[in-house]
C-alpha cells in the first residue's frame, strides 16, 4: 500500500464524492445551520471531530467485535449507539476542558447525533471493504483518512454555501423563493459544478 492511497482517499471523499452534494448525507444541517458563516464553521469543526472518531471506533467495533461474533447485522444499532454516546462524551469533555470552546461548539453537538453524514460515512467505510483490500489495520488508516476527507468536504461546502447565503440575504428574491427554495437551487448548481470534478481520480 502506498501513500497515494491516502491522498486519493482524502481527495475523492472531499471533492469528488462530496458527502453533501454527491452523496446527500448531512443535508439537514447543510440547509439548517448554513445561514451564518460563523455557525457553519462551528458545525463543520464539530462534525470533523465526531466523524473521524466515530469512523475509528465504529470500524474497530465492526472488525474486532461484530465480525468475530458473527453478528454483522447489528451494525446499524451498534454504530448509532457509538455515535450517540460519543457525542455525549465529547460534549462532557469539551465542557470540562474549555468553556469557550463549549460555547462555540456545544450547541451543535446534539444535532450531530441525527446528522446522517456521520452514520453514513461510518457505514460506507465498512461497505467499501477497506479491510479486504488492505488488511484490517491498514484499512483502518484508509477508513479514518476517508472520514477526515469527507468531513473536510462537508466543511468546505458548508463554508462556501454559508457565504453564498449571506449574499442571498441581501439579494432581491421573489417572495415564494426566499429561504429554502433558493438555497436548494443554489445547492443544485453547486452540485453541478462539483460533478465536473468526477473522473479526476
Amino acid at each position: 500500500m502506498s501513500w497515494t492511497v491516502f491522498f486519493v482517499a482524502i481527495f475523492s471523499s472531499m471533492l469528488i464524492n462530496n458527502v453533501v452534494l454527491m452523496r446527500f448525507l448531512g443535508v439537514c444541517p447543510f440547509i439548517g445551520v448554513s445561514k451564518k458563516t460563523n455557525s457553519a464553521i462551528g458545525m463543520s469543526m464539530a462534525v470533523l471531530f465526531v466523524m473521524v472518531v466515530a469512523s475509528l471506533v465504529s470500524y474497530l467495533l465492526y472488525y474486532l467485535v461484530l465480525v468475530p461474533l458473527n453478528i454483522e447485522y447489528v451494525q446499524t444499532i451498534g454504530f448509532i449507539l457509538i455515535i450517540a454516546s460519543l457525542v455525549q462524551l465529547v460534549e462532557m469533555f469539551i465542557k470540562k476542558v474549555s468553556k469557550k470552546l463549549y460555547k462555540s461548539l456545544g450547541v451543535y453537538l446534539p444535532l450531530i447525533t441525527t446528522n446522517c453524514a456521520i452514520l453514513g460515512v461510518a457505514v460506507a467505510n465498512i461497505s467499501e471493504d477497506f479491510a479486504d483490500q488492505y488488511g484490517v489495520f491498514p484499512g483502518l488508516a484508509v477508513a479514518v483518512t476517508t472520514a477526515f476527507g469527507a468531513a473536510l468536504g462537508f466543511g468546505l461546502i458548508m463554508f462556501a454555501f454559508s457565504t453564498i447565503r449571506e449574499r442571498l440575504e441581501a439579494a432581491v428574491i421573489p417572495e415564494a423563493w426566499k429561504g429554502v427554495p433558493i438555497s436548494l437551487i443554489t445547492a443544485g448548481i453547486m452540485a453541478l459544478a462539483f460533478a465536473g470534478l468526477g473522473g479526476i481520480v
Partner: protein, 252 residues
C-alpha cells in the same frame, strides 16, 4: 405552538391522518428527511420503496414508543428512542434484503440511514411520547404517507424529465401527427435531473412552486378578510348612524 398542540387533541382520526399530507408535509413543510428525499428519488420505483420502508418504521416506532412512554425515564428518552428506531430499521433492512433484493440494492446505504431520518425521531419525540397508541399509529401512518407522497412526486418529476418515463420505465405514448411516439426522444432527456444536482433542483423548484401557490392563496384570503372587516365596519357604522338617528328621532 402551544395553541397548535391544544388544537391537535381535538382532531378526529381522519384529520389526524390527513394532516401530514399537505399542511404538515414532512418534506415540503418541515424539511424533515431531506437526505433520502434527495438521494433515492432518481426514479419513482426507489422513491416508492423508500417511502414504504419509512412508513413501516415510522408506524412501528410510534406504536412502541407510545406503548412504553410511561416506563422510560426522562434522562434516557432519546437513546431509548434511537435503540427502538434502529431495531426496526435493522429488521426492515433484513426483510428488504430477503424479499425485495432489487430494492435493497438500489437503496443501498440509505436503508441504515433511516435511523437518522429526522422525521422518525421527531414524531417519536413530539407526538408518540405524548399520545395514545391508536393516535400515534394514525399519526405515523399519515406522516409516512405524506413523506411517501412527496417522495413519489419528486421521483416522478426527476424520472419523467430525465428519461421521459412515467414510472418503472413505462413511457407515455403520445399521439403526434397520427402516430404514437415515445417522449423519450424528444425534449424530455434532461439527464441532469437524474443525477445528484437534479435532487436539489427539483425539490427547490417544487418548494418554490408550492410556496407561490400558498402565497397566492394567503393573499387572496387576506384580501377577503380585509373586505369582510370593511363590510362589518360599514354595517356597524350604519347601525350606529341608524341608532343615532332613531334616538334623535325619538327625542324629537
Amino acid at each position: 405552538m402551544a395553541q397548535a398542540k391544544a388544537k391537535k387533541k381535538d382532531l378526529g382520526y381522519l384529520a389526524n391522518l390527513t394532516k401530514g399530507f399537505i399542511k404538515e408535509n414532512p418534506i415540503f413543510t418541515f424539511m424533515l428527511g431531506l437526505c433520502p428525499a434527495l438521494a433515492v428519488t432518481g426514479t419513482v420505483e426507489t422513491s416508492l420503496g423508500m417511502g414504504l420502508l419509512v412508513i413501516f418504521v415510522l408506524v412501528s416506532s410510534n406504536v412502541v414508543v407510545s406503548l412504553i412512554k410511561d416506563f422510560i425515564p426522562a434522562e434516557v428518552k432519546i437513546p431509548s428512542y434511537i435503540v427502538i428506531i434502529s431495531t426496526f430499521v435493522t429488521m426492515v433492512g433484513l426483510l428488504t434484503e430477503a424479499y425485495a433484493p432489487a430494492l435493497f440494492d438500489s437503496l443501498g446505504i440509505f436503508i441504515p440511514l433511516i435511523v437518522v431520518n429526522c422525521l422518525i425521531l421527531g414524531r417519536a419525540e413530539s407526538y408518540a411520547s405524548k399520545n395514545n397508541v391508536l393516535n400515534s399509529a394514525i399519526d405515523g401512518l399519515g406522516m409516512g404517507l405524506g413523506f411517501l407522497g412527496a417522495m413519489v412526486l419528486i421521483g416522478f418529476f426527476r424520472e419523467f424529465f430525465s428519461t421521459g418515463a412515467i414510472a418503472y420505465g413505462v413511457y407515455l405514448p403520445l399521439a403526434v401527427e397520427g402516430s404514437i411516439v415515445n417522449l423519450e426522444w424528444y425534449i424530455l432527456n434532461i439527464a441532469v435531473l437524474a443525477g445528484p444536482a437534479g435532487g436539489f433542483l427539483v425539490i427547490g423548484l417544487l418548494l418554490g412552486l408550492f410556496n407561490s401557490i400558498a402565497i397566492t392563496k394567503r393573499n387572496k384570503k387576506e384580501r377577503e378578510r380585509q373586505k369582510m372587516i370593511e363590510e362589518k365596519k360599514r354595517l356597524a357604522l350604519e347601525r350606529k348612524r341608524k341608532k343615532a338617528m332613531e334616538s334623535a328621532g325619538g327625542k324629537a
